[in-house]
Symmetry: C2
DNA sequence: TATTATTACGTTAGGCGTAAAGATT
DNA sequence: AATCTTTACGCCTAACGTAATAATA
């Protein structure tokens, strides 16, 4: 019967050309390799080596055996990887959300309740979230509308309300308004964080006359927020690492699209909520 | 590192449900199986079993591991079969002939000259023989025409001359003819051996008015030859196990198609002739 | 002479089976 | 009580490394 360890020796021999070099590389003795080669030849039960008194090399059959050895070790590696990946997937709670804010509270709660599980999250559009939740490609979904679907449970999770932050001397603030619409602020260029899910699409759609300065990392964003007078967005769920420009005035945006309710969805059989 | 022997144990356990039963089937002790399962679990490095104090069973990951174990053992088996088959093919002289007679002398000579080789032969139509010889699917070919082909050597091997055997009181014999044409004998039903290569096609073509009583095995054929008065064919190369009906008269068939020369063909690099 | 494969040989680690323990049905 | 898994333990095989051998380039 073939032995995977010996097959590794076999491959090493084929790579390094002599038993001596292979033995050195494998940190084992030469006689051990001699025996491995003999055992492999016995397992295949056909001659795979040519030998002279102090030289050994592969014959044509041996070259084929080498291919097979490589294939076999590869599939062995694959097998282990597949099993480990599956195990990991069983130990992972996947979350797909249409916006980041709900994750800020959800992930800590989940990891607290399920200390043995690891958690992965991804920002995804709502159609895909629903589809993936139904087909089991994600354990949890977070969306902004109520749905009714066979085998899917749904729960209200939280609300998020968008505001725009403006410097005190901004024309809109000067008017004394306490709340605004997208229409009011359309045309003003704004700072915008990336990785904000559906909010980005919404801004593009509702403020076609504005340009947005996208900041990829949080740090740059917060730095800019403190050092410029550009408008930027915040919500009731946002907590900044450091307080933003104190003087800024946050005006709620009253469009319905700027005030969303998040819903958790999962398979009926799920026990994560 | 996975061990194929232990994977067999693993599969046996999965098949028989308990370590005890598997141990019994494998003719090893139960503790050995316990250890095998532990080693496999260590090799995969993820939990694949559920255990109670006196019960052990596969979890979901284990079921996947089982699939992988089966796959791995299958490919190991395959590998060995592939290597052995290749070795065997290196030790085999393949012959494709358009007729059986040349093989009767060729095979003994070849196996005498190449005692370590085994020989396989097959009756095949000439087009395929030529094609297979060129592409290396056969080591030797036997055909009835001279060909010129790059990289192919060709040698005259022997001749075969067809005769028809008739009972003494047969009308054709009564005419005193010493030789015949296919036309002369067309219409008479004849005994015909199967496995005679191109001869069969020739008979059908040249004697469309005759019907042929095909005999699959040699013994039946020779029995019939001795006990009936039906015409049958013979050639200069045919040697019957027992003498046929003594009184039968063999009349040579003079058509050119009934008198063939066999040629051996092989790759130029071949050393079999 | 240096390199290399193989054989010989002594030691040791590890694998197997028996026996025992612990637990379940 | 019977069945089953796991642990403990002792034996013994077999695998490994060292050293020696033999041959080649």
């Amino acid at each position: 019967m073939l032995n995977l360890e010996e097959l590794k020796h076999f491959i090493a021999f084929a790579e390094y050309g002599t038993l001596s070099k292979a033995a050195e590389q494998l940190h084992i003795s030469q006689p051990t390799l001699t025996r491995s080669m003999q055992n492999i030849e016995m397992a295949f039960d056909v001659p795979i080596f040519e030998r002279s008194k102090n030289r050994i090399w592969l014959n044509d059959t041996g070259k084929l055996a080498l291919e097979q050895a490589r294939r076999l070790l590869d599939t062995a590696d694959d097998s282990i990887k597949i099993v480990r990946a599956y195990h990991k997937s069983l130990k992972t709670i996947r979350i797909e959300s249409c916006a980041p804010a709900p994750l800020w509270t959800l992930i800590p709660v989940l990891s607290d309740k399920n200390p043995s599980m690891s958690i992965t999250s991804e920002l995804v559009d709502m159609e895909k979230i629903i589809k993936d939740t139904i087909c089991g490609d994600t354990e949890l979904g977070i969306i902004t509308k109520e749905i009714k679907e066979e085998g899917i449970r749904i729960n209200k999770y939280c609300e998020e309300h968008l505001s725009i932050c403006l410097p005190p001397d901004h024309p809109i603030v000067q008017t004394g308004k306490k709340e605004v619409t997208f229409e009011d602020i359309n045309g003003y260029n704004c700072l915008l964080r990336s990785e904000i899910g559906f909010w980005a699409e919404l801004c593009y759609e509702k403020m076609p006359a504005s340009r947005f300065l996208i900041q990829k990392d949080n740090f740059s964003f917060e730095e800019l927020v403190r050092s410029t007078t550009l408008p930027y967005f915040t919500t009731n769920l946002v907590r900044y690492a450091q307080e933003p420009m104190k003087a800024a005035v946050a005006l709620p945006i009253i469009d319905t699209e700027a005030n969303v309710t998040y819903y958790l969805i999962a398979k009926q059989t799920s026990h994560y909520f």
